[in-house]
C-alpha cells in the first residue's frame, strides 16, 4: 500500500500513531513492511489457506462476535440436506461435473428453498436446448457488486447455531483442516508468526475495536481470486468488522476511475449500476428479465424501476410501456465475452474491429504474445492515448517482429492513432476507490488534434447516426432512436460533461433532476442513466464538485465530493449499531436509532430505511425494501444478511477452498484437487501452461508495481522524473536463489516460461524471502511489469511471461506462475523462439484442450 497507494497510506500511519498494529502480509518486503509492526512473507497465491487459517482460529476458539453473527449474518440459516462439503467429497462440493469442469449449484441452496438455479446458471427454459455449460458461462456474480444474487425466500434459521446443517456448523467443519500446521505447510508462514497475526486481529475486533483489511490485485489476480475475497469477507463478518468505522475489506484500486468504469461499466456483463446484461436464453422480455429480482427482499427488489429508468434515459420517447421500453434494443449475451475471449476471437478472425482507449494491452494484459497476435489479425484498430503506446506500434517494433514470427509487411491491420486530451484538458468526474465521485474542472484546451474521449464518442455516434439516417432496417433502430443530443461548448465544440452527468443522475416526469434512487419508478415516468449515481446532481447541482475543506467539516467529510449510494461513506452502516439500534460501543459510535425522532441518525448517511425501527418485523409476503426487518443491515442482499455461506451466485463453490495456482511448484497439501476444479481454460496454441511441480520451471514468479511507475507505463515511462527514479527493468531474487542459479547483483538474467522469455537486471536482495515449505525451499522471482519498447526508459514486458487461466466467476487471470531464471541476456531473433520451444518441450507444457461441448 505504501508503494502503490502512498497518499492513502498516510491514514494507516495516522492509525499507527494512535496505537494501531499494522501487519503486512506479502511475499516481498516493501516500503509497507518497513513501517509495519509485523511483516509476514507468504508464498504467492496461497491467501485462501492463510485467511482460512484465521477463520479456523476464530471458530475453533469461539472468538467470533456472536451477537453480530447471529443477527446480521446467515450463520443461522439451514442448508439443504443434499449439500455435500469438500470435507465429504475429497476436495469437491456436491454438483461437480468432471467432464464439463463445472458445478451445478442446485444442492447448495438453503433448506426448503424453492428450486431455483443460481444466477448465471439458470435453466434456459428450453428443454433439449443448448448444453447447460453455456448457461454456466453467463457470468453474473459481478451483479452482486450492488445487489446480491437472488435467494427465493428467507431461509429457516436456528439462532442457537447448533443445528448440524446451519451455516455456522458447516463453516466449522469446512475450515477444520486449516490449522496453523497446514498454514505453515502451504504458505511457508511459521506457526509463531501466524498465531501473532491471529492474536492481534482477534484482540482488536469486537464491540470496542475494529480491524480493517486492505488489499489489491495480489488477492484478486488469481484463478481463485473471488474466493480469496470471500474468505476475507467470512473472517471480517465473523469478527463483526463490516459496516463499522475502522472495519471493512478495502479494495485499493489502481486507476483513477476504475471504480467508475465498473459502476458505469465498460464491461461486457453489466449495464450501469450493476444491472446484468440480458442473456439470450433467459431474458426474452423485460418481464422475464426483472422477474428473477423484482419483489425479492431489499433494494435490489426494485431492479425493475432501475432498468426501466435506464431504458428511458437511452431511448427517451421511443421507449414506452407498450413496447417494453425498448428492452428488445439491448444486445444479448450467450456466454462470457471477457477481454481474453475477445483476444481469442481476434486471433481466430471473428472480431476484426477494435477500439483501445487509454489502455495498453500489448504490455499491460496477460500473455502479451496473444494480445499482439490478436492485434495483428484485425482489419482496423483505433488507439486513443496521450503517447505512442506499444499497442499502437506492435506492427513495427513488437517482440514478434524481432523474433521473425510476424513481419510488418505481412500485418494487414489498419491503425488509427488519435491523440487524447489529458485530465486537465477536459472536465469530468472520477470515482475513486472509496466510491467517491470528484469533479475535475477544465484548466486548458487540449493541444493539436487531441480531444476528450467524450467528444470522440459523441462525434463518432453522430457520424454513425448520420450514415444510417433514413434506414428502415430494424438493426439500425437502436442507434437511430438513441437519445444522442448533448449541448456543446468551447472552441472545440466539446459536449458538456455536466449534461452527461445530469443524465446519469436522472430526471423525473417534469424534467427536474432526481435526488435519490428511491424516486425511480417502473412506469416510465423517470429516466436515470445509472441508478446508484442518482443524487449526484440533486437540486440541479453538481454534488461531485463540492470541495468544502476538510478543516471545515467532520472527519467523515460528507461535503467533499459525493459517494454512491446517497452520499454514504460507509456501506451497510446500520451494522455499526447493535440489534436494538444502539452503538456497539461509545468508541465505535457511527450510526444509531433515535427513538424519540423515530429515525436513524449519526455521523454518516444511514444506510437503511430512514424510519424503520430496529424491532420492525416485516409482514408476511412483503417485497423489496418493505421486506427488510429492523435487524437486516445488508440491505442489498436478498435476505438482508451478510453471507458467510453463498447459496447461489458463485461458480466454484459456496465456501472458499484452497487450491494451488494453475502453475505451482508444489502439490496441494490442503485437498486432492490440485487447481480450482471449476476454472476456465483458454485453449490457444500461444497459451501453453507449465505443468504443476515442473522441474523445468521450479520457481514462482509474481508481478507487481513500483511507486515510480504506473501500470503498463503509458503515463510514466515518458516522464523524465519518473524514468530517472526507476530507469530499468529488473527482477528481484533472494540471496539463496542468486547462489543457486549463479545470478550476479546488477548483472543480467533471463526469465523464461512456456510463453516467452524476457531479460532483466538482477537485484539480489534479502527483501525477497526464501520460504521453507516442509522439506523444501520455495523461491520467488519478483517482477515489476511497467516496461515495454517505447518511452524514455525501455525494457522487456513481464506480461509476456504470464499464461491465461481464469477465475470462473469474473474471468480474471492468475498473476502468479512458474518460471526458470538463468544468468545472462536472452537470445535474440528466431533463437528466442527456439529457446522457449526447448523449455516447452522439456517441461511438457501444452495448451489446454479445446472444449468440444
Amino acid at each position: 500500500m505504501a508503494e502503490c497507494h502512498p497518499v492513502g497510506f498516510q491514514w494507516v500511519m495516522e492509525a499507527k500513531r494512535k496505537g494501531a498494529t499494522i501487519i503486512h502480509v506479502d511475499p516481498r518486503f516493501t516500503r509497507t513492511s518497513a513501517v509495519a509492526d509485523l511483516h509476514v512473507p507468504l508464498r504467492a497465491g496461497t491467501d485462501i489457506a492463510f485467511l482460512g487459517g484465521l477463520v479456523h482460529h476464530v471458530l475453533d476458539n469461539d472468538l467470533d462476535f456472536r451477537e453480530y453473527v447471529v443477527h446480521y449474518t446467515n450463520a443461522a440459516a439451514l442448508v439443504s440436506e443434499d449439500f455435500r462439503d469438500t470435507e465429504d467429497l475429497d476436495g469437491l462440493f456436491s454438483g461437480y461435473d468432471a467432464e464439463e469442469q463445472q458445478y451445478d449449484p442446485t444442492t447448495w441452496q438453503y433448506e426448503n428453498a424453492p428450486q431455483s438455479a443460481a444466477a448465471g446458471m439458470r435453466d434456459p427454459g428450453q428443454p433439449g436446448g443448448p448444453a447447460a455449460s453455456e448457461e454456466h458461462e453467463a457470468a453474473r456474480s459481478e451483479q452482486a457488486g450492488s445487489g446480491g444474487p437472488t435467494v427465493p425466500a428467507k431461509p429457516d434459521r436456528d439462532e442457537t447455531l447448533q443445528h448440524p446443517r446451519c451455516v455456522f456448523q458447516i463453516l466449522k467443519r469446512h475450515f477444520a483442516r486449516y490449522t496453523p500446521e497446514l498454514v505453515a505447510e502451504v504458505c511457508g508462514v511459521s506457526e509463531e508468526d501466524f498465531l501473532r497475526v491471529a492474536k492481534a486481529l482477534t484482540e482488536n475486533s469486537g464491540r470496542e475495536r475494529t480491524s480493517a483489511f486492505c488489499y489489491a490485485v495480489g488477492w484478486t489476480h488469481h484463478s481463485t481470486g473471488v474466493q480469496t475475497i470471500r474468505t476475507a469477507s467470512i473472517l471480517q463478518t465473523l469478527l463483526g468488522n463490516i459496516g463499522r468505522p475502522g472495519g471493512g475489506i478495502l479494495a485499493l484500486r489502481g486507476h483513477a476511475s476504475i471504480q467508475g468504469s465498473t459502476d458505469i461499466p465498460t464491461l461486457f456483463n453489466i449495464l450501469p449500476g450493476y444491472i446484468p446484461m440480458p442473456h439470450a436464453a433467459q431474458h426474452r422480455s423485460l418481464e422475464e428479465f426483472v422477474a428473477e429480482d423484482a419483489g425479492s427482499t431489499g433494494f435490489w427488489g426494485n431492479m425493475d424501476a432501475y432498468t426501466v429508468s435506464l431504458l428511458k434515459a437511452w431511448w427517451g420517447d421511443a421507449a414506452t410501456q407498450d413496447n417494453d421500453f425498448r428492452f428488445d434494443y439491448l444486445p444479448r449475451l450467450t456466454g462470457h465475452h471477457g477481454t481474453y475471449d475477445t483476444v481469442v476471437n481476434q486471433i481466430e478472425g471473428r472480431s476484426p474491429g477494435y477500439f483501445v482507449v487509454g489502455e495498453n494491452p500489448a504490455v499491460g494484459s496477460a500473455n502479451g504474445k496473444m494480445q499482439r497476435l490478436g492485434l495483428a489479425n484485425l482489419e482496423w484498430l483505433v488507439v486513443r492515448d496521450l503517447t505512442m503506446v506499444e499497442t499502437a506500434t506492435f506492427w513495427k517494433d513488437g517482440p514478434e517482429i524481432e523474433s521473425g514470427e510476424l513481419s510488418t509487411e505481412g500485418i494487414g491491420t489498419e491503425v488509427f492513432f488519435l491523440p487524447a486530451a489529458s485530465h486537465v484538458e477536459k472536465k469530468g468526474s472520477f470515482t475513486n476507490t472509496q466510491r467517491m465521485l470528484q469533479w475535475r474542472h477544465q484548466a486548458v484546451q487540449p493541444p493539436g488534434d487531441a480531444r476528450s474521449d467524450l467528444q470522440f464518442y459523441y462525434e463518432l455516434g453522430q457520424r454513425i447516426r448520420a450514415r444510417l439516417a433514413g434506414s428502415t432496417d430494424e438493426m439500425d433502430r437502436p442507434l437511430l432512436d438513441l437519445t444522442w443530443d448533448y449541448p456543446t461548448e468551447g472552441p472545440l465544440g466539446e459536449p458538456d460533461a455536466e449534461a452527461v452527468l445530469r443524465e446519469i443522475n436522472g430526471w423525473d416526469g417534469s424534467g427536474d433532476a432526481l435526488s435519490s434512487y428511491t424516486q425511480l419508478a417502473k412506469d416510465g415516468s423517470t429516466a436515470c442513466g445509472c441508478w446508484i449515481y442518482c443524487g449526484v446532481y440533486a437540486d440541479e447541482t453538481n454534488q461531485a464538485a463540492r470541495r468544502k475543506p476538510h478543516w471545515e467539516q467532520s472527519l467523515v467529510a460528507p461535503e467533499w465530493g459525493w459517494a454512491w449510494p446517497a452520499n454514504r461513506r460507509i456501506l451497510y452502516n446500520r451494522a455499526s449499531a447493535d440489534p436494538d439500534g444502539k452503538p456497539w460501543s461509545e468508541r465505535k459510535k457511527y450510526v444509531w436509532w433515535d427513538a424519540e425522532q423515530g429515525k436513524w441518525t449519526g455521523d454518516d448517511v444511514p444506510d437503511f430505511v430512514a424510519d424503520r425501527a430496529p424491532d420492525h418485523v416485516p409482514e408476511e409476503g412483503a417485497q423489496g425494501p418493505d421486506a427488510l426487518g429492523g435487524r437486516d443491515p445488508f440491505i442489498m442482499q436478498t435476505d438482508g444478511k451478510a453471507w458467510l455461506y453463498v447459496p447461489t451466485g458463485l461458480a466454484d463453490g459456496p465456501l472458499p477452498t484452497f487450491y494451488e495456482p494453475v502453475e505451482s511448484p508444489v502439490r496441494n497439501a490442503a485437498h486432492r484437487p490440485q487447481r480450482n476444479p471449476a476454472l476456465e481454460d483458454v485453449a490457444e496454441p500461444a497459451n501453453p501452461l507449465n505443468p504443476p511441480e515442473s522441474r523445468v520451471f521450479p520457481y514462482v514468479f509474481t508481478s507487481y508495481r513500483l511507486t515510480e511507475h504506473h501500470t503498463a507505463g503509458g503515463m510514466s515511462r515518458t516522464l523524465p522524473y519518473l524514468s530517472e527514479l526507476q530507469p530499468e527493468m529488473f527482477c528481484e531474487v533472494s540471496p539463496r536463489l542468486a547462489r543457486e542459479r549463479g545470478l550476479d547483483h546488477g548483472g543480467w538474467a533471463t526469465i523464461v516460461t512456456s510463453r516467452s522469455a524476457i531479460e532483466a537486471r538482477v537485484m539480489v536482495t534479502a527483501r525477497m524471502r526464501s520460504l521453507r515449505l516442509g522439506e523444501r525451499w520455495v523461491e520467488h522471482v519478483g517482477l515489476p511489469y511497467h516496461w515495454g519498447a517505447n518511452g524514455l526508459v525501455t525494457g522487456d514486458s513481464v506480461n509476456d511471461l504470464v499464461g491465461i487461466a481464469l477465475d470462473p466467476n469474473v474471468h480474471i487471470q492468475d498473476k502468479v506462475g512458474t518460471c526458470d531464471i538463468r544468468p545472462g541476456r536472452r537470445p535474440r531473433g528466431p533463437a528466442l523462439v527456439d529457446f522457449v520451444d526447448d523449455y516447452r518441450r522439456r517441461s511438457g507444457a501444452h495448451p489446454a484442450e479445446e472444449d468440444d461441448s
Binding site: 483513477a256 464491461l267 513495427k396 491523440p419 476528450s452 470541495r547 480474471i812
Partner: protein, 186 residues
C-alpha cells in the same frame, strides 16, 4: 565577496533553519525570483489521474499553459500530499512525448502517415458501420435472438471519466457491440 561562513551548509548548521528549508538555502538569486504558483493567471481544481486514491490537485495556468500541478491541502483524502507520480503530473500533461497529431498506418504499411482528424473520424465511422453490418447477428446458432455484433470490441475506461464511460457504453450497446471491457478485468 561572501565569507565561507555564508556557505549554505554552514548557515544551516549555524542558524535556526536546521532542516535547510528556509533561510539557510536562500540566496540573492532565489530572493529575486517568484514561484510560478504565485504568478499563475488561474488555479483550477482537479484530481490526480494515476491511482484510485483520488488525491486533490491544484492546476496552475499561465498564458493558457499548465505551469505547475500541486496537491490540494483542502482535500480530506490527501491533505495536500502527492506521491512521486502525482507530483510528476505537470510533466505528464506538458510532455514532449505527447502525440498531438493523428497518425495513420495503412494495412501492410511500414510507416506512420499524416491524416486529417476529420477524415480519420469519417473513416472510423465508415468502418464501424461496415463491420457492424458484415458481422451482424440476429440469432445465435441455437436460434435465440441476440441482436448484436461480435465484429467490434473495445478495451479501456479505467483511466477515463465517468461521463466518457457512460457515452461509450451507451453507444456500443445501441450499436450491438457486447465485447466491451476495461482494466477492471485485467
Amino acid at each position: 565577496m561572501p565569507t565561507p561562513l555564508e556557505w549554505p551548509l554552514l548557515r544551516q548548521l549555524r542558524g535556526r533553519d536546521r532542516l535547510g528549508r528556509g533561510a539557510a538555502v536562500e540566496s540573492a538569486t532565489t530572493r529575486s525570483i517568484t514561484p510560478r504558483t504565485r504568478t499563475a493567471d488561474r488555479v483550477v481544481d482537479s484530481v490526480c489521474p494515476f491511482c484510485a486514491v483520488g488525491c486533490g490537485q491544484k492546476v496552475y495556468v499561465q498564458d493558457e499553459k499548465v505551469t505547475q500541478i500541486e496537491g490540494d491541502p483542502a482535500s480530506p483524502i490527501s491533505r495536500g500530499r502527492l506521491c512521486p507520480k502525482g507530483s510528476a503530473s505537470t510533466q505528464l500533461v506538458t510532455s514532449d512525448h505527447r502525440v498531438t497529431k493523428v497518425r495513420y498506418r495503412r494495412p501492410h504499411g511500414t510507416a506512420w502517415e499524416d491524416l486529417d482528424l476529420d477524415t480519420a473520424m469519417d473513416m472510423i465511422a465508415d468502418r464501424v458501420v461496415a463491420t457492424r453490418r458484415k458481422y451482424w447477428e440476429w440469432e445465435d446458432e441455437h436460434g435465440r435472438r441476440t441482436r448484436r455484433t461480435l465484429g467490434i470490441a473495445s478495451l479501456g475506461g479505467a483511466t477515463l471519466d465517468n461521463e466518457e464511460n457512460y457515452l461509450m457504453k451507451k453507444l456500443y450497446t445501441a450499436m450491438g457491440a457486447v465485447q466491451i471491457e476495461n482494466q477492471a478485468r485485467i
